[in-house]
Amino acid sequence: MERIPILQMGEFLLVTIQVDMHDRLAMTLQDDLTNRISQVKARGVLIDISALEIVDSFIGRILGNIAKMAQVLDAQTVVVGMQPAVAITLVELGLSLTGIRTALNVEKGMALLTSTFNQDGTAIELSVLPRERADLYGET
């Protein structure tokens, strides 16, 4: 069965979506990621969508679900690399991806995840919404 690979790096999981996902593939990714978080006790998930040419309401819902399920399993999710045209379309479509943290690229996303945890490995309190807004609307 067709699957999107999930890489493990320490306590983080990395996913790079490089194909035009059909809906069932997206749902498989959601299930696989949730299982892997629990199996390897991951603290963070980084999803690189720089190769995605569109994010429609279905993919938006899957990304939101992944973030929520990860949260319940005590892991943080960061979505990185959204193309500008995709961001413009998303906002016009009416999706705000509430609850999903974003970063411009993989490097910044990793820095965000790393800074989320202090040396004991416990999560520092996060303020999710302002950062997400800033990334979507280009505010500083």
């Binding site: 809906d23 429609d56 309401s57 819902r61 995709v86 379309t89 016009e92 009416g94």
Partner: protein, 132 residues
């Protein structure tokens, strides 16, 4: 590619093929990247509706040329149960479960022209045009 092109929508893999064909059509007409993305996203939403709510159907992809402007017209047709309350279905936030409630209303914002005809028990036809 020959147009008008009629494609069948019977599986989620077909939705991907529709996205690719619509993208190709927008590229042929030299749409900007943002307009390509908007049109392909709209096509993806409507193709999924055709599949999930209409029980499958077809899309017709064609270019329109009025002399002073050119665009892409997409017609999604199914013989499904139809939509009993169109006004409600076009409202922001309305959903029957599948997506995020942005399907029809959001799609309308992504294109220039949007027309929907639905008869309960007969099916639904959605036509959109994006001008260059």
């Amino acid at each position: 590619m020959e147009r008008p092109e009629v494609m069948s929508i019977q599986s989620s893999a077909d939705v991907v093929l529709v996205r690719q064909a619509v993208r190709q059509c927008a590229v042929d007409l030299k749409f900007s990247l943002v307009d390509q993305t908007k049109l392909v996203t709209a096509a993806s939403e409507l193709a999924r509706n055709t599949l999930d709510y209409g029980g499958g159907g077809t899309v017709t992809i064609e270019t329109v040329d009025t002399g002073d402007r050119r665009g892409v017209r997409l017609t999604f047709a199914d013989q499904g149960p139809g939509i009993p309350n169109l006004e409600l279905a076009l409202k922001d936030g309305y959903t029957t479960g599948g997506g995020l409630g942005m399907g029809l209303s959001g799609t309308k914002r992504l294109v220039n022209e949007f027309d929907i005809v639905s008869k309960v028990g007969e099916g639904t036809v959605v036509t959109i045009i994006k001008w260059k």
